[in-house]
C-alpha cells in the first residue's frame, strides 16, 4: 500500500514541502504524514492543512491536485518513488540522490538542480534551469537522469558535471551552458548559444542550430553510444525515428574559449 495525498485546499501563496518525500515518510501512517510541517508563505503549517492523506508510507508516494504552487517536492530524496498527478512547482527533486520522481503534468523551473543521483520523468514541459547549478555555483547536477517529454527552456544542464538530461521537445537558449561533463539530448530544436562555455560533455540535437563562433566542425560520424542511447529512449516512448538511430551526425567541438573538449552532435538526415 502506498501513501496517497490529494490537495483539498489550494494554497494562497506558495507552499514549500521538501519533507514530503517517499523515503522520509516510510513507516508513517496517514496521521503522521498529515502532521508533517510544510511552509505556506511565511507560516509553518502541516500537510493536513492542504492535503487529505490516505494509506501508509512504504516508499511510494502519490500526490494529486494542482500542485503548481508547491515547491521543493522530492527535494533531497534518496530512495522510493514519488508520483505527481498534475502540475508541480519549482525545485522539484532539488539535490536528490536516489529514487524516482514521475510527473504527469508540467513542472516549474529548477527541476533536479544539483542532483547527484536518481531519476526524474516529466510527461509534460518544464521551464528554466533543468538539471542546473544554483546561482553562484559552478557545478550543476553530478549524476542521475532527467527525462522530460515536452519542452524545456533556458539554461538546461547549466554547469552539469555528470548524468543525463533528455528533452523530447525543444530547449531554450544556453542549453548545456558551462557544462563540465555529462550528456544532454534535445529531440526538438535548441535555442541559441548551446554549449557556451562548455569544458567537456556532449550535447545532441536532432535539428540544425546556430553555432557559436567558438565551435568548430570536425566530421560526420555515426556514434555507437548514441545508437544505444536512442534505442533506450525509444523504449521509454520518446519519439525517435529509425534514421536518427542509424544516421550520421555532425560533430562540432568547443567551446574554444574554454578547453574545447566538449562536443555538439547534430543529426544531419
Amino acid at each position: 500500500m502506498s501513501l496517497e495525498l490529494s490537495m483539498h485546499t489550494p494554497p494562497e501563496v506558495p507552499l514549500e514541502a521538501e519533507l514530503l518525500t517517499p523515503d522520509r515518510t516510510v513507516g508513517m501512517d496517514s496521521n503522521a504524514v498529515s502532521g508533517i510541517a510544510i511552509q505556506h508563505g511565511n507560516r509553518q503549517v502541516t500537510v493536513g492543512d492542504f492535503f487529505t492523506v490516505k494509506g501508509k508510507g512504504e516508499g511510494e508516494l502519490h500526490l494529486e491536485g494542482d500542485l503548481s504552487r508547491v515547491k521543493h517536492l522530492g527535494s533531497g530524496m534518496s530512495s522510493g518513488s514519488l508520483y505527481i498527478h498534475g502540475d508541480v512547482g519549482e525545485h522539484l527533486g532539488a539535490g536528490m540522490s536516489g529514487g524516482k520522481i514521475v510527473i504527469d503534468g508540467n513542472a516549474g523551473s529548477w527541476v533536479g538542480p544539483e542532483m547527484s543521483g536518481g531519476r526524474i520523468i516529466i510527461k509534460g514541459d518544464a521551464k528554466h534551469l533543468v538539471g542546473s547549478a544554483y546561482r553562484g555555483s559552478a557545478v550543476g547536477i553530478t549524476g542521475g537522469e532527467i527525462y522530460i517529454h515536452g519542452n524545456v527552456k533556458n539554461e538546461t544542464g547549466h554547469g552539469m558535471r555528470n548524468g543525463l538530461i533528455v528533452a523530447g521537445g525543444n530547449s531554450g537558449d544556453f542549453t548545456g551552458v558551462n557544462m563540465l561533463a555529462g550528456t544532454i539530448i534535445v529531440l526538438g530544436e535548441m535555442g541559441i548559444r548551446s554549449g557556451a562555455g562548455m569544458k567537456r560533455g556532449t550535447i545532441i540535437s536532432m535539428h540544425p542550430t546556430e553555432m557559436l563562433p567558438t565551435f568548430s566542425y570536425n566530421c560526420d560520424f555515426n556514434p555507437i553510444f548514441l545508437r544505444l542511447m536512442l534505442r533506450a529512449l525509444q523504449s521509454q516512448n520518446f519519439n525517435i525515428e529509425d534514421k536518427q538511430i542509424t544516421g550520421k551526425y555532425q560533430r562540432w567541438s568547443g567551446d574554444s574559449v574554454e578547453m574545447n573538449r566538449g562536443e555538439i552532435l547534430i543529426f544531419r538526415e
Binding site: 523551473s109 521551464k127 528554466h128 534551469l129 527552456k153 539554461e155 531554450g172 537558449d173
Partner: protein, 117 residues
C-alpha cells in the same frame, strides 16, 4: 488597409525622459515622452507614416498606441524602433524572467501598423 510590419522595439532611457521625470510621472511632459516612438525615416516612408502619426505596436503580450517620430537612417537602422520606458512599453513586455528576475525589456519583436485617424 493599414500595412503591418514586424520590427524590433528597443525601449531605453532618454535625457528628456529624465528631466520630465522630475516634474512628476503623471505630468503631461513625461507622458508625452513615454508615448513617442522613434522610427527610421525610410521605414516611415514605406509604411506611409507622417511625423506624429499614431501607430499601434503589438505582440503576443499586448498592444499600445503611440505617436511616431522620424530618425535619420544613419542614426537608427531600418527595422528598429526606439521608445522611452513607460506605461506603453510595459504593455508589450513579457513577464518570464528565465530565472534571472529580468524581463526581456529590450529588443522586443512587435508588429507595427498605422492607426487611421
Amino acid at each position: 488597409m493599414a500595412k503591418s510590419e514586424s520590427m524590433i522595439l528597443i525601449p531605453g532611457r532618454t535625457s528628456k525622459q529624465g528631466t520630465s521625470l522630475n516634474k512628476g510621472k503623471l505630468k503631461d511632459e513625461y507622458i508625452e515622452v513615454s508615448t513617442t516612438v522613434e522610427m527610421n525615416l525610410d521605414d516611415m516612408t514605406r509604411l506611409k507614416l507622417q511625423e506624429g502619426d499614431q501607430v499601434r505596436l503589438s505582440n503576443e503580450i499586448g498592444s499600445t498606441v503611440v505617436r511616431c517620430k522620424g530618425r535619420k537612417p544613419e542614426d537608427l537602422p531600418a527595422g528598429i524602433l526606439f521608445i522611452a520606458y513607460g506605461p506603453p512599453s510595459s504593455q508589450l513586455m513579457g513577464s518570464d524572467t528565465a530565472g534571472s528576475g529580468m524581463p526581456l525589456s529590450k529588443h522586443m519583436r512587435v508588429s507595427v501598423e498605422k492607426v487611421s485617424a
